[in-house]
């Protein structure tokens, strides 16, 4: 019943720990202008705008989409805001696509952003709650015990996280927009990196970034008339589950498995590892690469770490993961999911530049958020389904 739609333009900012040279509006507009230029359209050609970002206290502006209407020349247009925690960049792109799939709008602009240097991210991510016990230490303190659970369950050797980190940091050097450009990492050096949240080393954590990602999504009718490469959206999927309940599986949450199963079913994929050419998945701590390889149904249970060790997920491997450098190299929270979705689109459009995977025809964008409980994914392709 749903219409086809395609990504026809992708634009992102240069990501950095502090983009003091631009305001929030300037940051957003930098990505938007690049996406519009990539799509070869003007901002007046946009029918509606869908904005996503993570918690407003990160910058101290409540519902900033209202104020940003000016920067987006949105007067008289629909502006829609999504907030689904860390998965928000992915769910925002999906909500934008659905406006087109439902036949409501022909051209939708979507943008995800975060300007973490404008506030105190560590505070905003772990505000102490009355009556509780303040033992948290940011996101790392939450996720590191889960990583320990994975290591114990799978028998993975302790160097796997460092291997992923080195791969992603090396990949990021091929991506001019990436926040971290650190070409000198080796496995030996990474293993000497200090333990931050044991078993997570400093090198195995993501940076805190300012940045934005924007996409232009068009209906089939408009995209067909549009010159240039497109990323056709073959499938989208979202799933959520509660943060904590008795007996909850946190290493491989059921919501993630179901979301992936839904994506493969809708996209007609029966053997993901074989049929998918490249995937951009949300890996804020290096160990989540092998964990998500299993959760997504790429690798068998407890085997994900072997794929990392065997180089399967390297740019030259059979299933490259995060050739852009991923969240491990760039993490403006509200944009991180859309960066995954947009980088997947760039791969099948052949626009990924130095980190292009040759002949990529089908790619996956993945995002997750909260306590590994909100999942958003899409499957894009260089050709129509």
């Amino acid at each position: 019943m749903a219409d086809l739609c395609a990504v026809v333009g992708v634009g992102q900012t240069k990501h950095a720990s502090c983009r003091a040279d631009v305001s929030i509006a300037g940051l957003v507009r930098e990505a938007v202008d690049r996406a519009l230029a990539d799509a070869n359209i003007g901002i007046d050609d946009v029918d509606a705008i869908v904005i996503g970002k993570a918690p407003d206290p990160l910058e101290g502006v409540a519902m900033p989409e209202l104020w940003l209407a000016d920067a987006l020349a949105a007067h008289g247009k629909p502006v829609f805001r999504v907030h689904t925690a860390g998965s928000v960049g992915g769910s925002t792109a999906i909500v934008a696509a659905q406006h087109v799939m439902a036949g409501i709008h022909g051209t939708v602009l979507t943008v995800g952003f975060e300007k973490q240097s404008d506030g105190n991210a560590m505070w905003a991510l772990s505000v102490p709650i009355p009556f509780g016990m303040p033992v948290h230490a940011g996101a790392g303190g939450y996720f590191s015990p889960i990583v320990r659970g994975y290591i114990k369950r799978s028998g993975a050797p302790s160097h796997i996280g460092a291997m992923v980190a080195v791969k992603d940091r090396t990949n990021a050097c091929k991506n001019p927009y990436a926040h971290l450009h650190e070409p000198d990492w080796t496995l030996e050096k990474a293993l000497e990196s200090p333990m931050m949240w044991d078993p997570i080393r400093f090198v195995e954590t993501c940076p805190s970034s300012d940045g934005a990602m924007a996409l232009v999504i068009m209906s089939e009718e408009r995209a067909d008339k549009h010159a240039g490469p497109k990323a056709w959206v073959h499938a989208t999927a979202m799933r959520s589950e509660p943060t904590a309940f008795a007996g909850r599986e946190q290493v491989s949450p059921r919501a993630g498995e179901m979301c992936a199963e839904d994506l493969w079913r809708k996209g007609g994929i029966t053997n993901p590892a074989k049929e998918i050419d490249v995937a951009e998945i949300y890996v804020p701590f290096a160990w989540f690469e092998p964990m998500w390889l299993e959760n997504l149904g790429f690798a068998p249970r407890n085997e994900g770490w072997r794929w990392v060790e065997d180089g399967v997920t390297d740019i030259g491997g059979s299933l490259p993961i995060n050739p852009s450098g991923g969240v491990m190299s760039t993490n403006p929270i509200g944009a991180s999911g859309m960066l995954r979705f947009g980088e997947a689109a760039m791969q099948v459009m052949g626009k990924a530049g130095e980190h292009q995977i040759d002949g990529a025809r089908k790619a996956v964008g993945h995002a997750y958020g909260g306590g590994s409980q909100f999942f958003a994914m899409w499957l894009v392709s260089s050709s129509k389904p």
């Binding site: 502006v61 505000v127 799933r239 943060t243 306590g371």
Partner: protein, 352 residues
Amino acid sequence: MARRDVAIVATAQRPNEVGSTLTSVELILPVINDVIAKVGIERQKIGFWCHGSCDYMSGQPFSFVAAVDAIGAWPPIVESHVEGDGALALYEAWVKIQTGECDVALVFSNGKTTSGPIDRILNLQADPYMVTPLWPGFDSLAALQARACLDAGVLSEADMAEVAARSYRDALNNPIAYAKENVTAEQLLARPYTTAPLRAHDCGVPVDGANAIILAAGDAARSLAERPAWIRGIDHRIDTQRLGARSMTESSSAAIAAAKAGVGDDRIDIAELHAPYTHQEILLRRAMNLGEGTHVNPSGGALVSNPAMAAGLARFAEAAESVFSGSADRVLAHCTSGPMLQQNLVCVMEGE
């Protein structure tokens, strides 16, 4: 126009109160269970859930995450959240149903408006570089707009008092309304200014509330409700926020949204307008060309109970209930967001 017929089939609202000691989860859980019980549907048949709320209302980043605890999200569900009023969550659910991915959706919203200084919190919606540091306050921005309207002769203080008197009197018939009073415009005009030219009765009463609505498509809607409230048109638009860059005496975004939603195609029996200030109701009526034959806010509206982030969805619930009961055939529900009616969502619903 929309490719699928979608209707509201059930609503639930909790009585509005001040100083609630419930957590947001405890506010939400009963209305979710209530609305599900009303249609007798199995939870697993709900294909999409969407929540509207605002982190700054509770002072807790990711505050909406706890709401997932209230909805029985196991096995995992298809779910999303908007940072804003539940009416926008309803819009997202309507879009989702239009794609054909699901037939039944549940939307809900909550606002504990009295747990923090709402006038100051909503101030954080303004331009963070040029306006917020001045801390003008949300009421003051509305007062600027009211002053401009008065000076332009668009409305009078008596007109504003008339809106309030009608709302407070209508609220006497609404068991969940918070403020209610058998009062006349003359009596209200004798009361002091709070933020001139606004008096207390010109400003919506901040309350704590929560509500939930079930949407369904086509035959599913007919099987779940005797007289569904069919959505005939729905649209939302935004204006610039910049003070001085927009007309304060009209709402162009409301006018566009109303035209797109087809408000003018036929008579509107009841219009539930989300107008947190009396002069804004008058501006909205003018923008949407609502005439004498339309009863505006028979529930008392947001003036008598304004649970921020839930007050817009409450308008949908009230409008739909008037269709369910047969007291109206063609109704309008509206939600506004941002200072001075910056963003407006308009929906037209009909009984069959």
